[in-house]
């Protein structure tokens, strides 16, 4: 059977996006459960959030590598030898499973560049989902005490992920942005003053940045 590499690429792209999304969402959950950014947690509990994150990562990889068992694709027939001309389109059996996804990019697999496009998109979507569910979480479980208090941080002044320890993404965004716009000039000037003397920006703008 002649398998069109473009058809193979479509299959791989959609499957990879699902994998990258689930794994990114899981990784984000594990990481924010460590950093304490409660505004991004999918659940109100740190431990549950962390285990949910691990489960999402494992599920993403399990689905991706097991999909050839129930979805038709270019998996069949000894992936090592087959190219886009001889590769059969169909479902893989258990024996083929480990090599089913091993398809060269010239035959429709995803090369590094395409993965480098799909992964950030999935990570941004995972962040958006975390922000949305985190906001719902904080609204429903209002009494929760965030790690910012335990760390003794001044939550009124804290932006970024630190502010997310107590606030939802949507209420934290204006605070963070205000902080950024008030500090950015100073950050730039201080950065220029302490930058390497061959820094491109120091060469262009001078040490004071003026």
């Amino acid at each position: 059977m002649n398998t069109d590499p473009l058809a193979v690429r479509d299959v791989f792209a959609s499957h990879y996006f699902l994998l990258a999304f689930l794994a990114s969402l899981g990784t984000t959950q594990v990481a924010v459960s460590i950093s304490g950014a409660r505004g991004l947690w999918l659940t109100p509990h740190r431990t549950v959030t962390r285990w949910l994150g691990i489960a999402l990562i494992v599920t993403g990889f399990l689905i991706f590598f097991a999909q050839p068992l129930w979805i038709e694709g270019p998996w069949a027939a000894g992936s090592v030898e087959a190219d886009s001309v001889s590769r059969e389109w169909g479902q893989a059996d258990w024996g083929d499973l480990s090599g089913a996804r091993n398809v060269n990019d010239i035959h429709g697999g995803l090369d590094g560049t395409k993965q480098a496009i799909w992964f950030p998109l999935s990570a941004v979507l995972a962040f958006a989902i975390s922000a949305l569910f985190g906001a719902l979480n904080l609204r429903v479980f209002k009494t929760a005490v965030g790690p910012a208090e335990r760390l003794g941080l001044d939550e009124e002044d804290a932006g970024g992920l630190t502010g997310l320890a107590r606030r939802s993404y949507f209420s934290n965004l204006p605070v963070s942005w205000r902080l950024f716009t008030s500090e950015v000039g100073e950050i730039w000037r201080t950065g220029l003053a302490s930058a390497d003397r061959w820094s491109v920006f120091r060469v262009i703008f001078g040490r004071s940045g003026e």
């Binding site: 950093s35 590598f65 499973l97 060269n104 590094g112 992964f119 992920l161």
Partner: protein, 195 residues
């Protein structure tokens, strides 16, 4: 050197076919989708996992340098490839190898997947030794799986590791010429509540 290289890949690959489950495991590890995604996820985790603002800023700068090093590693490997097109082991010794992976068409030296793995691991190691060592172990396992599968020589793996670490060092050095842009970018992301 070349014969030692070939001898090693033939011996290691010769172990395949004995334990089916280990061959299957190596096929999964060698996949284009498992370890590269794990390296990307590690960079994502590094971005979000700092426990204090200072630690987060340090991790986030390392993440940016790491991502840049991944991209530059690809360029470094490509430059070496156009200078020296070393054939893959299955081209020269196909009759003695049991290929477990599709036959890649790009040159063998240095191993690109290992280069990106080591670049990412070096970025993590620069700010968190324990996490970095785990990533080095993962990158080494990835290299071993490709060696076991018969698509790289041992020197390709070692060369890839050296390229990855060297490019990370070069990228860290390069960062100083782009300051204060890099730090300001991290602050911008903090302004967007994403850092």
């Amino acid at each position: 050197m070349n014969s030692l290289d070939a001898d090693l890949v033939i011996r290691l690959n010769g172990l395949s076919g004995n334990i089916a489950i280990f061959d299957d495991l190596m096929r999964f590890v060698a996949s284009d989708y498992l370890m590269p995604l794990i390296f990307s996820l590690c960079m994502l985790a590094l971005w979000f996992s700092g426990r204090s603002p200072a630690e987060r800023a340090k991790y986030q700068l390392a993440t940016l340098v790491g991502i840049s090093a991944l991209a530059l590693s690809n360029i470094a490997v490509w430059l070496i490839n156009i200078t020296w097109e070393r054939p893959r082991p299955f081209i020269d010794h196909g009759d003695q190898l049991n290929l477990l992976f599709y036959p890649p068409t790009d040159p063998s030296f240095p191993a690109n997947p290992v280069a990106i793995g080591f670049a990412a691991a070096a970025a993590a190691w620069s700010v968190n030794r324990k996490f970095g060592w785990w990533m080095f172990a993962a990158a080494s396992l990835y290299g071993f799986s490709r060696l076991y599968a018969g698509v790289f020589y041992p020197t390709d793996i070692v060369g890839g590791a050296i390229v990855g670490v060297a490019v990370f060092g070069f990228t860290s050095y390069l960062r100083r010429f782009l300051e204060p842009l890099v730090t300001t970018f991290v602050r911008l992301m903090r302004g967007l509540s994403a850092a």
